[in-house]
Symmetry: C2
Subunit: 320 residues, 2 copies
């Protein structure tokens, strides 16, 4: 396949499977970007609301998958992790040609399922790093991904065409692409996405144990630190169960730091080491200005490894 035909095939129709916050936002953003798009969900209220806005959506999964097959549409799997296997099994049965990406927050688990079902030559995973403490189509927005990092799965054996389609979709949604393998992604998000949820739950519960007086004295630090404790329980469960080994490692690191802090307090020592490390880390976050990955041509020898190496340095793709 030549570079010219690559470009022509990068932006096929978009078929979004699951119209919650993320899937709904992908459908909206794809339409804004001028892509033909359609979708599937089982929620009557989501379907009704989406249809009222002129989106082509329905609750017949097999029909949607056949339609995508005929159109050569990119499949975007945007259902919760526990539903991915059943959905991919339907893809195997009903759709022969579509390339596939997804938006699920745990990548190694989805990759295993994809390989088990022998869909890996059609698949490049994805994970937009955007979310709200709210859920559902009614919270979705075409602007949700503006400027956000969006992981696109870049394994040693990832095929170029699904990878290009996943990247093009992310860019069309306004995101910046972080090309990395599933394992590195899961380790990283365990620290910066899943651990924050666990600590928010811990903080919320520990604060509430102080009774109405404590909650009534809570100011911004407690509100901010517990915001994601309002997230849907199923979402948090999917993160922590689905990414268990990496979450355990992140929790162990946090436990070690918290135990050190406790030992310092018990010895009447100041928490200077922790405070310095925390402040430096937050400053690094605030000063983040991700550079751009350029000059690596998908298909050239070593392109995947070269992409990953840049992503590890914090760089992002801003164009295909």
């Amino acid at each position: 396949m030549t570079a010219a035909s690559d470009t022509a095939n990068d932006r096929p129709d978009v078929c979004v499977l699951g119209l919650g916050l993320i899937g709904g936002s992908v459908l909206r953003a794809a339409r804004v970007a001028g892509r033909e798009c359609f979708g599937f969900d089982v929620s009557a209220s989501a379907l009704e609301a989406a249809a009222a806005e002129g989106f082509s959506v329905e609750d017949n999964l097999d029909a949607v998958l056949r339609r995508a097959d005929v159109a050569g549409a990119l499949l975007v799997v945007a259902v919760p992790l526990p539903q991915v296997e059943e959905l991919l099994t339907r893809v195997v049965a009903m759709n022969r040609a579509s390339l596939i990406t997804d938006t699920v927050s745990v990548k190694t688990t989805v990759l295993q399922l994809v390989r088990k079902l022998k869909l890996d030559n059609r698949y490049a995973g994805g994970h937009p790093m955007a979310g709200l403490e709210t859920a559902g189509w009614e919270s979705s927005s075409a602007a949700l991904f503006d400027g956000a990092p969006w992981m696109v799965g870049t394994e040693d054996d990832t095929h170029r065409m699904p990878w290009r389609q996943a990247v093009a979709l992310a860019l069309d949604c306004g995101a910046q692409v972080v090309p990395i393998d599933a394992r590195a992604h899961d380790d990283a998000v365990a620290r910066v996405s899943h651990l924050p949820h666990v600590l928010a739950e811990v903080l919320a519960a520990t604060g509430a144990d102080g009774g109405p007086l404590a909650l009534g004295l809570a100011a911004g630090s407690f509100r901010d630190g517990t915001r994601v404790a309002a997230a849907p329980p199923a979402l948090v469960r999917a993160m922590t169960d689905g990414n268990r080994p990496a979450v355990m490692a992140a929790v162990e690191d946090a436990l070690e730091r918290l135990q050190q802090a406790h030992r310092a307090l018990a010895a009447a020592h100041p928490l200077d080491a922790l405070i310095t490390a925390g402040r430096k880390a937050r400053a690094a976050l605030d000063e983040l200005e991700p550079g751009e990955i350029t000059g690596i041509v998908p298909g050239d020898p070593g392109w995947r490894e070269a992409m990953r190496s840049k992503a590890h340095e914090g760089l992002r793709l801003r164009a295909l």
Copy 2:
């Protein structure tokens, strides 16, 4: 002293000692409320900026304390905890008559100092539960305390007149008063103010250990969870050192919950108990509609205990 003269004496001039974020905001809010006010700080830039806005401020502490003595002004101690003892020692030397409150975030320590210096018959502590990750006069705002809870120290031996003046100041600043003793305050804020800072530092440092890739994938949950890690180190140190026993207890509770979570993950059990507790706690925070304390007359038998009892239920004073 009659109730009528009480009312006349509730709102004397206001003398703010320390013009950082909190002290500066008190000075601004007191002026907006129509109170005569003046202040002290040693920072040339803060003094210059405050004077340029027409505030009467200077860097001669003894002169300011004498002026407050002559005027019968309420002293508002708004310096960091480590500087409180030296400042109160100057108060003993230079000011015979002013009643005293403060805005320091740890109340038992200040109360001990006040008692040691035999100022307790002139003192009722205070702590406005408002703050930003920024500091200094340049961040101060008359609106900082709008609707915020403001603890006013209510011990068994708190005198009525300093208590009334501290309450009136908080109300003039737009806050709602939580009348509670120092010990209960420190235990509560360890959970909802000091622990959030410790966990924010832990989260920030653990995230940064994931390198540029992890920080680059950070989304809202990490940003929110680490916001107060940007707070001035001296402030965090003053909280954790100054409130050590209560912070230790809160850290122990958080450690226990985090260890339980780790054990559940290791056993491949879902984190349902933690997730349910965290979500319920956050919902309680979001649904908080503090009732009003009414019908308790300061000076009546048992008024302090009655106030505290209502505060423990989550109620607040909205009028004197």
